[in-house]
Assembly symmetry: D3
Homo-oligomer: 272 residues x 6
């Protein structure tokens, strides 16, 4: 379902690739994602990820046909035991998107066409969101009788500024189009079509990939920590982080390039 | 002061009704609100609330004439004992707005004309905020010599994205008009006048009311929990919540309607 | 580097004054800032601060020439001991900007021209941000090989609504211009040029200075507490705060002015 | 089930009074407790509570016959809706013991004979625990197939020092006798029999009742806050609390009595 | 290094088995532990674990010869990159003991002879600690130049009541003998020799194994949650947990056995 | 009031020295303490502190005559402004004891005779508590009409295992003698008289001083962090701490000494 390829220097491209099913997430998807991002996390060549969908749209969300049975009707002797298993399943599915966040390499997601249901759970776990003019987003879960539990309700309020909008989207399942996605801050840029979108995503990824991996990955780790903690806790974390991370040769290399007015892209950093 | 009526299928309309006093909040208001929302919380027929104000404007805030004495000059023997009573009073007033949040049914608030002082405390405790073109908002407390303590300073930073704007509004008591309210994310939609506003609010409420109450109320509960916790804590909460809440017939009913391309409005859900 | 002057009634003006070096922050800066704001915190005449930069731009950030040596190459016997000292240094630098936040008097920052690197750390610790049309902002740290650790990564996500934008700025070091700064909520107002900016900043400061210092400083303290805590904790804090702070004469003075339709600027409040 | 009486100066005695059923907690108990402690909280005459059980033993815990049906088999249409109601019921029962903690007046509990199941939930919510030589304690819940949910698992680890012992008691449901209760810190004193126990409890209560109610109730409130927060948060809370609570005449009265070597019992404090 | 065997009904025995090296933990140990406890967590036959050491003593701690190189001297290009790898290694080692805690089945640890260094990290992650008369414990890390980082400093303060003792042990590396281990609450029982210790551990384990696994594992999960959260959070967690877990047949089976005065050991519970 | 002297190798002795006033804490004390411990924190020669009292007893607590005026009757225009100043004063006094905790060098406190009121605040901020047979402790604050606010109510529950005992001591102001102090875990050892106490304290201090300062100070910092955080947070902190702190030569020096069976006291560690 998810395929990944080194598409350019230090940038890994991950693609939802099940276009005949509108990139709907089937059972295989959940474990493939975990393997994929664990590999990326440990691959010293990769410094940044571009994530996109193959075909006509980004993703239609969960493949209900393929999924529902296993999740909702586990085989067990009483309600408590069924609940026990349901909880384990949900936790496993949550992990599918949390790996994106745990992976210290930034993930730039490029959305074209529709991004529905679990697709929103997915993109809110990414670091930078870009989309096409024709993209739309839909928090679909209330429409099928449940409260979203693999990331949308937890992360959406922390990536969009307007509480009212978050609630409206989650409670009514209405579609949000690219212009509102931009003005609300869900995405940081809108592109005319998929081609320019992918070029834009690659350019952003390239900018990130050219910088010190110690700096970039430390920045992601600190940003995620800060999101979930007070400013004081975030500062203490940063001081502890940098007491060793400042002891990198990348600092001198970067500073020297800046002084010499050389492009950062010419600097060669060691692997991390 | 507050009156409530079942105005349509599963939607309860609560109205600030003291138009001759610009819906100013007097002593009766504080306990009426608590009774009103406790009743709504337990009424299985009600699935969503529309909240609005009667007359020319939404609310002028606290009725200083009616309120101040009791609050500020409690009868007690020394400063410590006065403080003890003031704290009790503030806590009681805070509860007046917190009941909106504790009620698991979503509250859509429709603001027309002015929304001043305690009115802002009130609307920030609601889930979805809509307003008319002529609406304006004012965090009034510094103008009367105090730091807002019944919700505005606590909730406004979590419903608006711009920290700078929140601080400016709270520290200068300047008015904010509907366009800035929309661009800053305080409200998610603006309507030309009160009539269209009320129709719009009812439509949003209708959308919510037509969905599974298990899904809708679970969504509100999870959103509020997530606002106040880290993403990891929010995910753990959601897994525990849904280990039982997924075991609802609403899921099958909703999924079936989706598969059959039927409107969700035709599905009959059990009471909650 | 930083000079401060009482520029009008109850307003203190602090200026980055090293225009020949583009207001770059040298070693002296870090301790001067702490002294400056500790003094302001204790000066009963000062009720609000306007912070700006002398010369052509707000600040170019850290003066790398002057700073790097001491910070990055402390003299010590092994890596652990170097790390120990680096951590102490970072903590001290963090304090330089945290004093702005700990000072109970609101700080209005006026940015013109460039605001680079540590300049962003600085302004995110201020309460209200204003800028000129020609202003631009740059989170510069990844460009020199490090994760920002004196405030930007910790505070920026809490002052801007869009998570995607915060990440993009921090991971790519791209410039953000005034229009995006306004639409994203980093600043709450944009002015045509430095002159109108300074006039605007003074006007906002004047509005704040004319209100009760008990109300204003309590508002800042409550807003900062609320940013870092849950709504429930914020409400409990406010109740405890106001159990004594409501027992101020400022309340009566302010209320009376309101009733008499007098301007708040005519009211004389006691020092705090 | 629970009866309360003013038994001496400023001391209220609350007694589990259903001796023919070994003070088992029936449905009436849960709401009576809430009413009882809400009344105590607001009664300015009461400064401290002594809690004990009538008859041969303290309490046999929940009256399973009377309770189980309602709790475990609520009438609802699907598992989600049953779970919804079970959660509401548990929350209500939790409140029954939490009222002890929310009541600012200290509660001294005197245990004789057996203290089983919900009895342990009850006493861990009290402030001071005393018992007779023949007393024994049993965390009974695993024996009837459930994880304790109305206080024992939450509070026991915070009132006993040994984690190993807490786990052993909760996982095996073994009895703990008075000597181990004393050495482990569950109780702070053991008395030979019920008569001396009650006299001892009254004496401790008398000591507390003779002190300033501002000091005593502030102490309880701060202790409970500190249990659940970091030292830093506890200190900040205390500073806010005492900024007004030190402004009490009780301080001068107490200090003067100390200087004049008078017994604190002779000092007359105002009501709180 | 670690071997596990089903030694009696529903009880799994895990043994440190490297007696010729005093059960010192070598590189293989760290991954074996994770596999072992992950298996136990998923084995529906296992309800409780007994953990002990083969040979003359429980464990001498880390096998410095075997371990140090890899941990302390990772191959990397600069200090930042070395630190990055050291952090990964520590996290992996922490996980080795945290699996004990994440496994919902209670772990009874039986210590004889010496328990040194990483042995203390290990036992503090277990639920119930028992030891022989000749057992002694030593927090060894300061002796080899480091602050304990795989559990002792984090868990010891939460399993022993005396802060002074915890600090003394950790800062001086002095030995603590069985009597002090008992009086301080580190262990809940002391046995004359290894034979009686193992019999005692099996008896405690048998008591636990005979009870409802829904009740037992829910109890462990709630106890660990409560240790790390406030009482209020612990209560909310318990209400959510039990809204489904009370819907188990084990409740009726257990209650009926109690009413019929049958031993709980005769009740047959479904697997979990 | 407080005098400090280097009394032996790497051990600094701090003494309350106002024996003619029973070491009562006067106004000078509060700032002297801060200076004293800030100096110790920065003195690379000092690795551990022994804290004791001169004359007949440890301390009688606050010198009410000298202190009360300033604290309780600040000169200000209304209750709010008085409260503002009282809060500042309390915070400053809290800092007096918190410096002990912020100083990374362990503090061994030796108590003889009486330790009353603020004395208990002081010793609970120390790391290791030792006392003489004739020592007694008294949480005195309720006796003078206030809730303890400079450390006792915040730290005592975290250094003693028994919640019941903590509450009893704080609510009744009864004396606790050395045997109960030992059994409750307030102190970790009791000595026959002051002479043996001081020798014992010096011995414990000597043990600490002979170990790696990187290990010892890291241990203190981690223990204090862990006290106030969950186990998971404590582990993450430790991993970040040690990613650099393991890169110390002390590790090799210590390990080698251990392998060569040399006393750690013979190892020479670099300053920290």
């Amino acid at each position: 379902v998810a395929s990944s390829a080194e598409c350019s220097s230090h940038v890994t491209h991950v693609e939802l690739h099940r276009p005949e099913k509108r990139n709907a997430m089937n059972q295989a998807f959940w474990s493939e994602m975990i393997d994929c991002f664990n590999q990326i996390a440990e691959d010293p060549e990769c410094r940044v990820v571009v994530f996109s969908g193959a075909g006509k749209l980004f993703t239609a969300g969960i493949d209900l046909m393929d999924m529902a049975g296993g999740l909702l009707r586990p085989d067990a002797d009483d309600t408590a035991r069924i609940s026990w298993k349901v909880r384990q399943t949900i936790s496993k599915y949550q992990e599918t998107f949390s790996v994106i966040e745990k992976c210290p390499k930034p993930v730039v997601v490029a959305v074209h066409g529709a991004c529905v249901g679990a697709g929103v759970d997915l993109i809110t776990a990414c670091d930078i969101r870009l989309c096409t003019q024709d993209a739309w987003f839909q928090v679909k879960e209330v429409d099928i009788g449940l409260a979203a539990d693999v990331g949308t309700l937890q992360r959406l309020p922390k990536v969009i500024g307007s509480g009212s909008l978050v609630n409206e989207l989650a409670l009514t399942a209405r579609k949000m189009y690219s212009d509102e996605a931009k003005s609300s801050g869900l995405v940081s840029r809108v592109f005319p079509d998929k081609e320019t979108l992918m070029a834009g995503a690659m350019e952003v990824a390239g900018e990130i990939a050219s910088r010190s991996p110690v700096a970039v990955q430390g920045t992601k780790i600190n940003l995620i920590f800060s999101r979930d903690h007070s400013v004081k806790e975030g500062l203490d974390f940063a001081a502890m982080w940098n007491m060793s991370m400042l002891q990198t040769d990348d600092l001198m290399k970067s500073a020297q390039a800046a002084l010499e007015k050389k492009s950062i892209k010419q600097v060669v950093f060691s692997k991390l």
